[in-house]
């Protein structure tokens, strides 16, 4: 876990209202695994940090992808190159890819990356790791409508899905996806609940409110099927889909925006 001030290096648009921000963060770029996140803070700004999945990591730089869903994200998107944010990470347990049982013993396992809206966030790193595990990667990316699809989906095969049919499959990403050995998914919690129905063993990255990101506040409770809660920031944010008690997990968090 590193804590330091990171300078904004650049910004680009990847869908309507959706932007990628780069930060100079060599320690994290080096250490981060797909599905892990950073917790960003700045002043003047919100009281609490804001968690963001690492989108890409390259040499000295990490990227995050976001939309303005509230004051914090709007402030981040208003920053200019050179502005600094306090960066804490990498946090959480990421996807299990090369070491996963699903791929064990397969020459070229089939991996599906399933993302809804801002759920693209952890996927470029997941694609990187799946490819380096010699897997065949199909990325299924869904959004409400064509202009909200992230333009940077990447994989051996790409399937687009839109709720209004304006591009690709007319329907949800879950419905559009073929089967595979390993399914990695991120998106609105209710999309993940649908993933859990179809692929109980899928690895899904959930979203919760977070107070600290470091395991000490117990604010990020994820209700488990076996009873009780654990911490999205520490045991999660990636879970076996069937392990989460989806009915008890709030479904209105902002990954939902743009889906």
């Amino acid at each position: 876990m590193f804590l330091f001030d990171a300078a904004l290096t650049g910004k680009r648009q990847v869908a309507r209202g959706m932007f990628v921000l780069g930060f100079r963060a060599p320690e994290i770029a080096h250490a981060v695994r797909a599905g892990q996140f950073v917790n960003l803070g700045w002043s003047p700004g919100p009281v609490l940090r804001r968690p963001f999945s690492v989108y890409r990591a390259d040499g000295e730089t990490i990227e995050v992808v976001l939309k303005a869903v509230g004051a914090g994200t709007a402030q981040l998107l208003g920053m200019k190159p050179g502005d600094r944010v306090s960066c804490l990470g990498p946090l959480g347990r990421g996807f299990e890819i090369s070491g996963s049982r699903a791929l064990a013993g397969r020459a070229q396992g089939a991996v599906i990356l399933l993302s809804g809206g801002l759920g693209v966030a952890p996927m470029p790193l997941a694609a990187r790791d799946a490819r380096s595990a010699a897997a065949h990667v199909t990325w299924v990316h869904g959004a409400r409508t064509a202009v909200e699809l992230c333009s940077e989906a990447d994989g051996d095969k790409i399937i687009w899905a839109t709720d209004d049919g304006s591009r690709g499959f007319h329907g949800t990403a879950v419905a559009a996806a073929p089967d595979a050995d390993l399914v990695l998914a991120c998106g609105p919690n209710r999309m993940l609940a649908a993933v859990a129905e179809r692929w109980p063993d899928a690895q899904v990255a959930v979203e919760t409110y977070m107070g600290c990101g470091t395991g000490i506040c117990l604010g990020c409770a994820v209700p488990l099927k076996r009873g009780g809660y654990d911490r999205a920031c520490t045991e999660g944010p990636v879970y076996r889909a069937a392990d989460v008690d989806w009915a008890a997990l709030p479904a209105h968090l902002p990954y939902a925006v743009g889906e």
Partner: protein, 304 residues
Amino acid sequence: MTPDMSVEVGGLRLRSPVLAASGTFGYGTEVPLLERRALGGMVSKGIFLQPRQGTPPPRIVETPGGMLNAIGLQGPGADALVRDYAPRWAEWDFPVLVNINGESAAEYAELAVRLDRVPGIAGFEINISCPNVEQGGLYFGNDPRAAAAVTEAVRKRTKLPVWVKLTPMVSDIGVIARAVESAGADALCAINTFVGMSIDLNSYRPRLSFRTGGLSGPAIRPLAVHLAHQAARAVRIPVVGLGGIACAEDALEFLVAGCTAVQVGTATFVNPRAIAEVHDGIAAHLEAKGFNSLADLPRYLPRD
């Protein structure tokens, strides 16, 4: 010369006046313990005798200058605490107090018995901001008699230091402070969170599943300074101040207002180095003003 920052608080000698507040530092085992030199002590997450699952999400919501939490005192219960955490605490070079909770005075007492003389446990912080189930759910902390009864029940069961953490939702904190002092408390901690509520305008219901939550963070600091000051004026035992401390200046406000030590809570969520920064900033202030020790810091504490 670095000033002498050690303090004596309610039966404990601390190398630093800055402690980690209950519920905001876990069991001390979650995050690598950097910069221990700055840490005067730690109060562990509130515990009940029995394990508790806590409340369903959402458990926290941000508010202007602060946050509401309703964790529901999720915790493993006394046995697991003794088994899993106390042995590690026993190896540390700063004291760990256990924040104890109950639904009746008898339950607090039982917890004290169970945890007394367990190596690694240096003292108790009684959380009296719990509903008193036997009295229709009124908080112990709102009623001087109930607060004193809990304090006395614990006091009788242990020779360890007993600190009592006061609730702010009272019209005269001095009355409660004096009641628990008389009941044998070694120190007071002021204050716990204020009850608050936040409404979601999509569902037209509270944002927190528990409906209400405790407000913490910088927003409450001026209220906490006032309440800690009022408590310090009312009693002779030391008062540990907390509520919204994020930097050394904030902590110094509590110390000047009559507190002997401080706890840092929510700030640790935002800045994992907060405790060290508070400690170092207090030392720097003392040096800049030419004080050799924290004891020389002027206090503003007119007696009642």
